[in-house]
C-alpha cells in the first residue's frame, strides 16, 4: 500500500516545517522528488540528507513567471506526477490595519502561485492520464480567524479552486485535493506567544499541536494509487480542533 516508487513529486515550500516533512515522507515511500523554496542552502542540505532521487530547484513563487520556469526545469529532468502546493506565508493583522500590500502578498503566494504552478503541471498530467495535485490549505480557510482575513481568504479560495480543477480533470485520471492542517508546530506557529499557544491547545481535543509528519501522512495517502477515487476533497488534519 501507498507505494510511490513509480512517482515523481514536486513539493513547494520544502524548506519549511511541513514541506520538509512531506518531502521526507514521500521519499521514504519511494518517490523521486523535486524540492523547491527560496533558501538554496536549506534545500541543498535536505537533498544531501535524502540522498538519491532528489532534484533541487530554487524559485520565488511571488514572481509572476516563476511557476512556469520551475515546472519547466522540473519536467526537463522527469515527469511531475504529484504536485504538492505547500509554500505559504502569513501577514496577520486586524483588517482595519491591513494594507493592500499585506492582502495581495498573501493572495499572490498562497493562491495565485498555486494556480499558476498547477496550470503549468496539468499539461503533462493530462498527457500521461495520471496526476495528483495536493494543496495545503488550513483549518482557518473553513473556520475563519481574527487577524487573518487575507490568509483565510486565500485558503478558502484554494478549496474552491481544488473543486473546480477536480471537476475539470477527473476524466483524465487526475485528482485534486486539499489537506487542511490545524495548528502544526513549525516556524509559522512559533511566531505565536505563549498565551496564544496555550489558548489554542485548550481547543484541540488531541491535546497537542500537530507535527509535520501528521500532515505528510495525509499527503502520502492522497498521492497514492489507493486514493484514485478521492478528488475535490479537503482532508482536515487538526487533532479535532474543528470537526467539519
Amino acid at each position: 500500500m501507498f507505494d510511490l516508487s513509480a512517482r515523481r513529486a514536486l513539493v513547494t515550500g520544502a524548506t519549511g516545517g511541513i514541506g520538509e516533512a512531506i518531502a521526507r515522507a514521500l521519499h521514504a515511500r519511494g518517490a523521486s522528488l523535486v524540492i523547491t523554496g527560496r533558501r538554496e542552502e536549506v534545500l541543498a542540505k535536505l537533498a544531501a540528507e535524502l540522498g538519491d532521487r532528489v532534484q533541487v530547484v530554487v524559485a520565488d513563487l511571488a514572481e509572476p513567471d516563476a511557476a512556469e520556469r520551475l515546472m519547466k526545469e522540473a519536467e526537463a529532468a522527469g515527469p511531475v506526477d504529484v504536485l504538492v502546493n505547500n509554500a505559504g506565508i502569513t501577514r496577520d493583522m486586524l483588517a482595519m490595519r491591513m494594507k493592500d500590500e499585506d492582502w495581495s502578498a498573501v493572495i499572490e503566494t498562497n493562491l495565485s502561485a498555486v494556480f499558476r504552478l498547477s496550470r503549468a503541471g496539468l499539461k503533462g498530467m493530462m498527457k500521461r492520464r495520471h496526476g495528483r495535485i495536493i494543496n495545503i490549505g488550513s483549518v482557518v480557510g473553513a473556520t475563519g480567524n481574527a487577524g487573518q482575513a487575507n490568509y483565510a481568504a486565500a485558503k478558502a479560495g484554494l478549496v474552491g479552486m481544488t473543486k473546480a480543477l477536480a471537476a475539470e480533470l477527473g476524466s483524465r485520471g487526475i485528482t485534486v485535493n486539499c489537506v487542511a492542517p490545524g495548528f502544526i508546530d513549525t516556524a509559522m506557529t512559533q511566531k505565536l506567544d505563549e498565551k496564544q499557544r496555550d489558548s489554542l491547545l485548550g481547543r484541540i481535543p488531541a491535546g497537542r499541536l500537530g507535527a509535520g509528519a501528521d500532515i505528510a501522512a495525509a499527503v502520502v495517502y492522497l498521492a497514492s494509487d489507493e486514493a484514485a477515487y478521492v478528488t475535490g476533497q479537503t482532508l482536515h488534519v487538526n487533532g479535532g480542533m474543528a470537526m467539519i
Binding site: 499539461k123 493530462m126 498527457k127 475539470e168 480533470l169 476524466s171 483524465r172
Partner: protein, 77 residues
C-alpha cells in the same frame, strides 16, 4: 500537403477514439466527433507536438473542424 491532412486525421482518430470514416474534413470536433472542451485542448496540444507549430489560444478557439486544423497547420508550418 495531403500528408498533413492524413496526419491530422490520424491524431483525431487516436485521441477521440472515433472511426476513421467519420473524420471527414468538414466534421466538427464537438458536434460530429463527440469531443468535449478538454478533448479540444488536448487535440491542439497534440497538433502542436506533431507539427512543431505553436497554436495561440485565440487561433485554437477558431479550430472547430478537421479542415480548420489542416488549414492552420498548412499556413503556419
Amino acid at each position: 500537403m495531403s500528408d498533413i491532412a492524413e496526419r491530422v486525421k490520424k491524431i483525431v482518430v487516436e485521441h477521440l477514439g472515433v472511426e476513421e470514416a467519420k473524420v471527414q474534413e468538414n466534421a466538427s470536433f464537438v458536434d460530429d466527433l463527440g469531443a468535449d472542451s478538454l478533448d479540444t485542448v488536448e487535440l491542439v496540444m497534440a497538433f502542436e507536438e506533431e507539427f512543431g507549430v505553436e497554436i495561440p489560444d485565440d487561433a485554437a478557439e477558431k479550430i472547430l473542424t478537421v479542415k480548420d486544423a489542416i488549414d492552420f497547420i498548412k499556413a503556419n508550418s
